[in-house]
Amino acid sequence: MTAIETSFAHVEGVDLSGLGHTDIDDVLDYVHEPTAHLPGYLELYDRYLRQRWNVNDLDFSTDRLDWTERMTDESRNSFLSIASGFHHGERQVEAELAPLFFGIPEDYKVFLTSHLEDEARHTVFFDHFYRDVVGIDGDGIMDILDASWPYIQETFVGPFGLLAYLTDDLRRDPYNKHLQMKYATTYMIWIEGVLALSVMKITLNYARDFKVLPAYYTGFTATCRDEARHVQGGMRFVRDLLAEDPNYVTDLHDTLRVLLTMGAARSALIYYEPLGWSEERVQELFLDQLRKKLAMVGVSLPADMEEMLTMVKPTLAGG
């Protein structure tokens, strides 16, 4: 067994407490491992059954001490600017998934039930983090979401508003495969495959390198492993649609063109430096994630879109 195979086998089988000592970069590599042979939906469902974790097993008491005593105001602000995009993103991808169920293959429907449950658990994970670590009080999920809203970038509404409205389109016409492709491009390629994996790397590299927020690191690394299944399932869905009719690539390109257009806007600066990053590195990370997803589905970009890539500003959110 090679070193990479050993690493993937570890990520594949380790339990929740073991994930707390697993390098996030190995988990991110694991997302892209089966490029040539994307796993089947039932295989992904089987992985879910083995990899599922309990959000209530996490103890945030050390994280609370780190937050209040070890982290600086600057690092707390930068961290919240990034994590809040994920807090809302998780809620959005949970709430917007249901209409996809109607018009997809039966095996994918089975896997998608696990995907939906994952997203609900991730939403609760962030809810616990904001209550137990950041110290926000509230009666329900929405109270905490409302309290973290001021930290997110205004441009968040671009990809996530698009997802909400495409969800409505799909709800009205769930068997329309052009709509399915637009929806999957927004949800699985852009939000989960590009935005989410980038944000995970930034905040988890910070927690790893500065040795803070162990429960956040553990839960969010477990979240990342969950996302690996979602992305792989989504890429399989996109690839199968393209195999059925290569003309669906026009829907993928059209959707990506809109996402890149919106991605060229930003309303406020985020200071990455307290977390050990720079805007240039974050942009490189985005583009690398996008190219990897496109490679997984065998799609290239036309010249005009290649040029658009250079204008994209990081929107730090995910789901």
Partner: protein
Amino acid sequence: MTTEWAQAVRQTFNEWPGEERKASKLPDFWAWIDMIGPFVTGRLGLSVRDLPPGTEGDTLVLDFEAGVVKEASISERSEAEKDASFLLAGDYSSWQEIIDGYDVGKAVMYRKLMLEKGDTLQFFTAAFFWTELLAAIQTIPVEALEPA
């Protein structure tokens, strides 16, 4: 909804953003708005689904030409919808919340406003142009109606 209010929307948005609003965001953001504006041409309807009686119509009609509101009027939805490129609709209670300052990004994300006519991708190509329009509308005083 009144003709007077529609004209106030036209004037306010054509002069948008004011200095204070402009200073609240990066120049990059306004550069993006300036880049998109020239492509925004056509009719937008903003409609209230259950508007109580006592107004001139249930839909604000805005005719854009290269990002500028050339005409603004009030109409019934059935009329406005015919020639609209896009129609956004929401319940009266949702519009009241928005007018009272509810975050316009949330209004889109949580579907307080829904795109009930028009191509979704085309609409989102100008996403932040539309959210700025809603933000401009929020600054115009209105009087609440008695529920029907």
